[in-house]
Structure formats: C-alpha cells, structure tokens
C-alpha cells in the first residue's frame, strides 16, 4: 500500500539521521514526557503517548483550562498567538465551540471554493488582523485552518512535504482523500493532547479509473444526495465497500480533518466559532449549478455575516478557488467596506422613511 511504503521509507531514512538531528525537531518540541518514546524519531511511528496525557478527557480536547501550563508545545519560544479556546461557559452550547475563526469551503460545478476571515485572536486580544488561514499545500490543494495557528501552520508544512515526497516517488499526486487520510494518521498520536487542528482540505483530483484499487479505502459517499454533510464517519480502520460514482473519483473534492480523529468527506463545511452564522447563509444559497461569481459572493456574504456577529472573526476575507488548473486567489478584501456600505444603505432608507412620515 502506498501509505505503508511511505512509512517504511521514512522510517529508514529518519533512523539514520536520528543521531545528528538538532533538537529543533517537532518531535522534541512536544512535551518532555514524549521523549522516552521518541528514540526512533520517526514521524509516523505510532506509539502510545505517555499515560498522563491520557488523563485529559477527550471531551475536553482543545479546551484550555486556566490551571494547565504543562504540555504546551510552544513553551520555549515567545507565546505564539493562538485562536482562543472555550473554557467553562455559563450556558453550555450543544457542542463545544473551540476555534475562534470562521472558515468555510464548498464544492460546486466550478470547483471548490474556500473562504476564511483573517483575524488571529489570543483570548480577547486581536493578535494579528491580517493572518492567512487558507494555506496552499500544492498546486491543486489548499487547506483552511482553524484551531491553534502554530499547530496548523506546522502540520500544513509537514503535509506539503509528505505529499511532495509521495509525488516524487510515485509519479502522481496523491488524491485529496489520501492527503486527508495522511494528515489524519499523522495527527493521531497526539489525540487527547492539546494539539488543535481542524482543517478542511479542498482539492481537485484528476485520476483516471485505473488507479482506484491502489488508492485504498476511498469511502465516497453519495455526493448528489440532498444532505450537504455526509455524516457517517469514514473510519480509516475499516474497509467500506460502497457505491463509487465515477464522477466523484476525479474532480473537486472536500475533506474535513480534525485533530480529534474525525475525517469526513462532504460538499459543504464551515469550521470555527463563526460557523453557525455562516452555515445558515450557505444552506440558503449553495447549489451545484452556481457560477463562479455567484459562489464567490455567497462565500463572501457568509464570512461577512459571521464576522458581523462573532467577536473572534473579523477584519478581511480571503477567497481561494480550486479548479482543474490549480488554485487561484482573489485579492484580500477588507470587510470594513462592506460594513460601511450596509450602514450607509440602512441610513438612507431610514432617512427616506422619515421624509415619508
């Protein structure tokens, strides 16, 4: 299997380098309790994390409690701005909303559209009003990021490196599904820790039918059903023979990967604290037959509405469009203009009304 091949080669390569590795490797950046398990220093070596990390309940995953100061991955450098986590709330939400951002992505006839705001906040301080939350991974794959900025940036780079290595070894690009699986496997050893990455991988695959078997368990769910989000978890441990549509093997594809282990395929995702506001706009307007201009304006409106109501989202909006030719990026737009335009039009109708009365 391609993945195994990748792991074995890696393992051999890294072991030889292990001796002279500088301490700056990501493996050693993790909490010191990991060191005992890291003699092989292989990226994809699946060892059980040290017991004390497992004391944290997975339900609390990604939620920083004020008394916790150990296990912080970025402790040695200056505190990196991270998107805020939700600790205990006075009115509990139906699900914990942990990531302070708004990102969204959806599939339509013109490819995949990904949009995100640009605010990086650090528990109430806007650390960076112009950050990049959509990171291109390779020419035909972009990933939106949500969670801790540091973790997302690092893992995206690792993923790009692994995908490039795969491409060099096998002569073709890994599909979005494979990339999602790879990312999910790489994040698995850190399950139960404070690593927090919630990414959607948006890509365009162009594979012909002959490569189907080699790709492994590609659990394509019905893309044409009326449900936007295919909710049955595509578990990477079980094989699920299912009806694979020819059309969905190549073309636009969208996966959601989360550091708690979820890997879901779908046609519409929105992640972050502003996602409920965006979801309702997207549910209203997203259809398969949209033109690129319509899709862009819906995505922009959805991000704008989320930034309007959510404190942790704001500033500008980034829009990336992935097609068979690769990804293209629109110029970053400041949503302040949108806000003033709306305010102005409200003011005008208000005045028109006053005149009428």
């Amino acid at each position: 299997m391609a993945l195994q091949d990748l792991c074995n080669l890696q393992h051999i390569l890294l072991e030889s380098e292990a001796a002279e590795q500088s301490p700056g490797r990501f493996g050693e950046k993790a909490a010191s309790s990991y060191e005992s398990g890291l003699h092989s220093s292989s990226l994809l070596d699946f060892y059980i994390p040290v017991a004390e990390c497992l004391d944290e309940s997975p339900i609390e995953f990604g939620q920083i409690r004020p008394d916790q100061s150990s296990c912080s991955i970025s402790s040695e450098s200056s505190p990196l701005p991270s998107l805020p986590f939700v600790s205990s709330q006075p009115v509990p939400l139906p699900f914990p909303m942990a990531h302070g951002t708004t990102t969204l992505a959806f599939v339509f006839q013109g490819g995949v559209l990904a949009a995100a705001d640009t605010r990086s906040s650090c528990s109430g301080l806007v650390a960076c009003p112009a950050s990049q939350k959509i990171l291109p991974i390779h020419s035909h794959l972009v990933g939106t990021t949500s969670g801790t900025s540091a973790d997302c940036a690092l893992w995206k780079r690792i993923l790009s490196r692994e995908l490039r290595l795969y491409q060099l070894r096998n002569g073709r690009r890994l599909s979005t599904s494979g990339a999602a699986k790879l990312l999910s496997h790489m994040l698995h050893p850190f399950k139960g820790t404070e690593l927090c990455v919630a990414a959607t991988l948006c890509g365009w695959d162009d594979h012909s039918g002959s490569r189907r078997a080699a790709q492994g368990q590609k659990t394509d769910l019905e893309a044409v059903s009326s449900d936007k989000v295919s909710l049955s978890k595509s578990s990477f441990l079980t094989q699920q023979p299912c009806a694979r549509k020819e059309a969905s093997l190549s073309g636009p594809s969208l996966f959601y990967v989360c550091s708690d282990g979820s890997r879901l395929q779908g046609t519409l995702f929105s992640v972050g604290s502003g996602s409920p506001y965006a979801y309702s706009i997207l549910d209203q307007g997203v259809q398969w037959g949209l033109t690129v201009a319509e899709a862009t304006s819906i995505a922009r409106e959805a991000v704008y509405r989320a930034t309007y109501r959510d404190a942790y989202s704001g500033n500008c909006v980034d829009i990336y469009h992935v097609t068979s030719q690769g990804w293209t990026r629109r110029t970053r737009e400041d949503l302040k203009e949108e806000y003033y335009r709306e305010k102005e039009s409200r003011r005008q109708t208000h005045e028109a009304e006053k005149k009428m009365l």
């Binding site: 205990s88 936007k228 549910d283 509405r305 989320a306 309007y308 109708t349 009304e353």
Partner: protein, 275 residues
C-alpha cells in the same frame, strides 16, 4: 415608585430592610404563597435550601451537572409594518425530545406577545404572571400598559430570583403609543430594546439568515419569508430545535397568527435544486 404604587406596595426602603435581614424565614412559605403584589410586594423564596448555593454545587465540572440549556430557536424583528415573531416548536429534555408541538409564544393580550426559551416551566409560569399584571394595570389605569413597562415588570421578577436557577430567555413584543416595541428579557435581569433578537441555542444560525436578508423597507410578505427562513435554517442545523414554525405578526391593531408550517417541508422547498 410608580411600580410600587401600582402594586399597592409600601415604600421600597421598608422592603429592602425586610429582604436583607438575617432572618428571612418570616418571608417564607405563607399560606398565600402566590399572591404577588396584591397587598405587599414580596419575593417568596422556598423554605429550606439556599437555591444559589445548591445550583452552584450542581454546576461544577465533576459530579452531577444540571445544564440549563436554552434548547430552542426564537427570533423577532421590527420592521416598517410592525414586529414579526417566529419560533420553533420543539421541547427537549436533555437528549430526549419531549414534544415537537409546543407553543412557545404566549399571547399576553391582543397587543402584547411573549416568546419563551429556556426552561419551559419557568417561562410559562412567569409570563402568565406577567399577563396577570398587565391586565391589572389596564384595569387600574384605564389605558394599556406600554411594552417598555411590561418588559420591565418581567425583568424585575427575574431580578428577584437572580442566581437561583431560573432559565428564561424571552422577547416581549408589542405595539403601543411609541410604535412597535421589542424587548429582550432574560433570567440574569438583562433587558434590552432592539431591532432584532434571536434566542436559544439555534440563535446563531437564525442571526446569519436574518442579518443577511433584513431591509428596513421590506414588504410584509418578504418579512414573513425571512422569519420562516430564519427558523427553518436554524432547525436544519441545530439538533435541539425543530417541529414547526409558529409565526405571528404584530400590527398596529393587534397581533395576527400568520402560519404554522412544518419545518421539514420548508427545508425541502428551500433546498430544491441543491445537490
């Protein structure tokens, strides 16, 4: 204070003295426990347990937790032709759906409506009490109570039991001398006047839709459509909202009930042609 005069109460300083004295037992558990405000203004507290302490112990991380969830979606917005009020109709008890056909709007009188979110019991009780007070006001003063005053009455009732575990998120909508009125009142004692509110755990989904489609000069049909859409999309994404949309329109001459539409049919209608 006008309120004290309305309720026939004594001056406020006397009451505070009574309330905050060490022996609160004398205020408890009279035979006529529920006769609020008829003779004296009093805040009855149940005998025995100290409610806020008990609640605090139930809200800690470990052990038994009583999660007071506002599991619903309600929305209301003002526009040129009045106020639109739209609510879902699902009642949940944790993960169990108790009912899909609950009326979450209480018709206080022909020109005042109250919505309910939070604990069904609390909302129904306190809003009925509010209805009684509004009726008494009308009888004593020969003119209708204003929306601001009605919401203030409810707000003060909530403040009396602040911290003791009430769970009420309500919007009081009406039309009085000042025009259409919309107030949000909740169990913390918050009372806000505004153009648009949405409460409940599905509120964020409703906010997205209504913010996007709202225009001050909407026609009545557009407003009905917007209200339906807001609730429908919220019930689509939120597990604790569902059932049907109950919609009311508050006009100058009173409210009318616009429709009661099943949410699944609405969603099918809206999403025809998508994927």
């Amino acid at each position: 204070m006008a309120l004290a005069a309305v309720c026939g109460g004594q001056s406020s300083s006397e009451h505070f003295g009574q309330l905050f004295s060490g022996k609160q037992a004398r205020l408890f558990d009279r035979p006529n426990h529920f006769s609020f405000g008829t003779k004296i203004q009093e805040f009855a507290v149940p005998v025995g347990n100290e409610p806020s302490g008990f609640l605090r112990s139930c809200n800690r991380e470990e052990g038994v937790r009583i999660d007071l969830n506002h599991g619903t979606t309600t929305l209301a917005f003002k526009f040129r032709h009045g106020v639109i009020v739209a609510v879902d109709s699902r009642a949940s008890a944790g993960n169990y759906l108790a009912s899909n056909d609950v009326n979450k709007v209480i018709e206080i009188n022909p020109y005042l409506l109250g919505t309910m979110s939070g604990s069904a019991a609390d909302c129904q009780y306190w809003e009925r009490l509010l209805a009684k007070e509004c009726r008494l006001y009308r009888l004593r003063n020969n003119h209708r109570i204003s929306v601001a005053a009605a919401s203030k009455l409810l707000c003060n009732m909530m403040l009396g039991y602040r911290g003791m575990g009430l769970s009420v998120g309500s919007m009081i909508c009406g039309w009085d001398k000042e025009g259409p009125g919309l107030y949000y009142v909740d169990d913390n004692g918050t009372r806000l006047s505004g153009r648009m509110f949405s409460t409940g755990c599905g509120n964020s989904y409703a906010y997205g839709v209504v913010d996007s489609g709202y225009k001050e000069d909407m026609t009545v049909e557009e407003a009905y459509e917007l209200g339906c859409r807001g609730i429908a999309h919220a019930t689509h994404r939120d597990a604790y909202s569902g059932g049907s949309v109950n919609m009311y329109h508050m006009r100058e001459d009173g409210w009318i009930k616009v429709c009661k539409e099943d949410v699944s049919e609405l969603i099918h209608r809206y999403r025809e042609g998508m994927f």
